[in-house]
Amino acid sequence: MKLEQRKDLLGLRDMSRKEIELILDTAIPMKDVISRDIKKVPALRGKAMVTVFYENSTRTRTSFELAGKYLSADTVNLAVSTSSVQKGESLRDTIKTMEVMGFDLMVIRHAMSGTPHYVAKNTKMRVINAGDGTNEHPTQALLDMYTIKEKKGTLENLKVAIVGDILHSRVARSNIYGLKKFGCEVRVVGPTTLMPPEIEKLGVKSYFSLEEAINGVDVINVLRVQRERQQSGLFPSLDEYARLYMVNTKMLSKAKDDVLILHPGPVNRGVEISSELADSSQALINEQVSNGVAVRMALLFLMMGGARDEINN
């Protein structure tokens, strides 16, 4: 089975539960590939992909590149800062250039919401959204869901709290869309100035008290706080933010005993999460990163590859 009807992966909002399950299931054998001594399967030999990141990224870009390489795809990273983009080339021309070089798939990150959608409409290449502005970050949500499922055995009906800057978070949006498809109770918590309007219409509960929001939850997904939000007047100071919304070991007593702590990274220690908690066994920050490679392998394989059995053989 493949993601046959789908040319692109732009977000989880428009993705079916079945498709998500397929990706997460396919990621299991992929994780096995990564744990082998020889981390290479020929599944995507002869396929070519390019990662185009218009915004800084350490883990996502590397993760995609490695995922492609483990599957034997030829992967190229377009270094945007040294490319023709700096000479004023339009996005349309950049895309066309990549397309005519023969790439099968483009992974794009962009600071502006909707840009992968624009790209997808204007190319024959398959497009994966690696994060667009404040819209979606579907592969992050998929790896979060994979990590939760791996630990909890299921995604069904879990209680998940997402903490922080919901307004600007593409991670929050993709997680909400994904988790809601599995019947999860999703709670969002953060300062009122960082809460998007009418968020509850997405089927989530919103809180401004961290303590109330994490009461009885199975998972806490802690979002990174960006310093420029403070500078644009959305909250008074990082200290005050930490005082209200820093997740630490002490307050976990409110959540379930086996609560999982996720964070998409990079972490601001002592701001949104205490160092102690970030380094604890409940925090799955590193597992998320390694699962990210497996999930992206699954996705690349399903979008460019052949039958699932090829992986096991």
Binding site: R13, S90, L91, R92, H110, M112, S113, G114, T115, H117, Y118, D132, G133, T134, N135, E136, R170, R173, P196, P197, E198, I199, K201, L202
Partner: protein, 428 residues
């Protein structure tokens, strides 16, 4: 030169006419409006099953000339107007250079006289270079033919400057047109703030950004006794403010656009940059409020805010795309199809909103079929069906969110100063 328009349904709200009549045009003027006009050797237009109206007026058009001729110019813009059924359009002054002086205003007037297909009335800026700090030479602008002042595209941020503009404009009996936008609240905004901005992850523009300034300008109109006109009003709150101010006798008028009356913020989810416009497409509750305000007389006129753009300005990331919709060539069909054909507006109300409505706002001697007036006439074919195809536009701006939409009831003929300038799909 004589012309007879025979057998059409003549709707002239200014004169309370709505019946099957003939119109005789002689020497560019309305010579007779009555049944049974017939003359041998006079060209006669068979207008049976058509709706014959005073020439439509669009008081909010960006003609882009001078300075942005790659987006539109006086020739293409006035052709687009004729094709859209408009006989008179007002040219917004946010050109390069802006229309803040006699020379630039005269340039537009003269060019339009030589090359224009329809009447063009320029609007001058409120402040020099639209910079918001010093009043433009408004007497000069009026001398050159400007019928109003506006810093459209930019709000007048300072209340003291707006107050002075209102005081000063009173001497010339012209309205001050206000682009209402609190730039701090609207900063970085790309669409209406609400449910859909949340799910599309685009920065929202709150309704308060418009309403704060509309409220301020209405208060200043009350203070000064001057005429404030709210451009492209798009929110329920703006409608409430205008309704309330009118009830209190304040000299306020307002316009709404066809797109704010018919398209909601939901369609922005395509990230199609043709949906990007300022003020943004609002949610359905605001659309309903605008429609109610059309029905109860709060709205004085419909204006397109025709904002043509070149391909590159729209073929890019949503955030980088220019704001604006090319509206002249779809306005009448959109309003007919979405509002008249659906029963939201009566046909004679609709005609009023495009004729006597804007004429009154501007204080110009147009918008009626009164005997002796200049023969500016728009004829609609209420049965015509057409799919919107921007490649057929006369406008250089192909940026329309109505692309590929089928609409029923289109402009059929446009007559300016007694001359047929547009007929069944062709500008003559």
């Amino acid at each position: 030169m004589r012309l007879i328009i025979k057998g059409g349904r003549v709707i002239d709200p200014a004169n309370n006419i709505d019946e099957l009549l003939d119109i005789l045009i002689a020497d560019g003027k309305i010579a007779a409006v009555e049944a049974g006009i017939s003359e041998v050797n006079t060209e006669t237009i068979d207008a049976r099953n058509k709706i014959v109206c005073p020439g439509f007026i669009d008081m909010h058009v960006h003609l882009r000339e001078p300075g942005f001729e790659y987006k539109e110019d006086i020739v293409s813009g006035t052709k687009a107007a004729a094709a859209g059924g408009f006989t008179t359009i007002c040219a917004m002054p946010n050109t390069d250079p802006p229309v803040d002086n006699f020379v630039t205003a005269s340039y537009i007037v003269d060019r339009a006289k030589i090359l224009g297909v329809v009447n063009v009335l320029p609007i001058g800026t409120i402040t020099k270079k639209q910079a918001g700090s010093e009043l433009s030479a408004i007497a000069e602008l009026v001398d050159a033919g400007c019928v109003a002042v506006s810093d459209d595209g930019k709000p007048v941020v300072r209340a003291d400057i707006m107050r002075n503009a209102l005081e000063y404009a009173k001497m010339f009996s012209i309205p001050v047109l206000s682009h209402c936008e609190d730039i701090d609240l609207a900063k970085g905004g790309l669409m209406h703030e609400g449910y859909f901005s949340t799910i599309y992850g685009l920065k929202g523009i709150p309704t308060a950004a418009e309403e704060l300034m509309a409220a301020r300008d209405i208060i200043l109109a009350e203070l000064t006794g001057a005429h404030i006109h709210i451009c492209h009003a798009s929110t329920k709150g703006s409608m409430d403010l205008v309704r309330n101010a009118k009830a209190r006798g304040i000299n306020v008028t307002c316009e709404v656009t066809p797109h704010h009356l018919t398209l909601s913020d939901e369609i922005v989810g395509s990230y199609d940059t043709f949906t990007k416009v300022n003020p943004p497409l609002r949610s359905s509750e605001h659309i309903s409020a605008l429609r109610a305000a059309l029905q109860d007389g709060t709205v004085d006129c419909i204006a397109t805010d025709h904002a043509p753009h070149n391909f590159e300005s729209k073929d890019c990331e949503y955030e980088l795309a220019s704001f604006g919709i090319s509206g002249l060539e779809t306005a009448i069909a959109v309003v007919m199809d979405k509002l008249v054909n659906t029963g939201v507006l009566k046909i004679n109300e609709m005609v009023g909103l495009f004729t006597v409505g804007p004429a009154k706002v501007l204080g110009i001697d147009k918008g009626s079929l009164t005997l002796g007036k200049i023969a500016d006439i728009s004829i609609i074919d209420p049965e015509a069906r057409k799919v919107v195809n921007p490649n057929d536009f006369y406008s250089k701006g192909k940026n329309t969110p109505y692309k590929n939409m089928e609409l029923k009831a289109w402009p059929w003929m446009t007559i300016v100063n007694g001359q047929v300038v547009y007929r069944e799909g062709k500008v003559i």
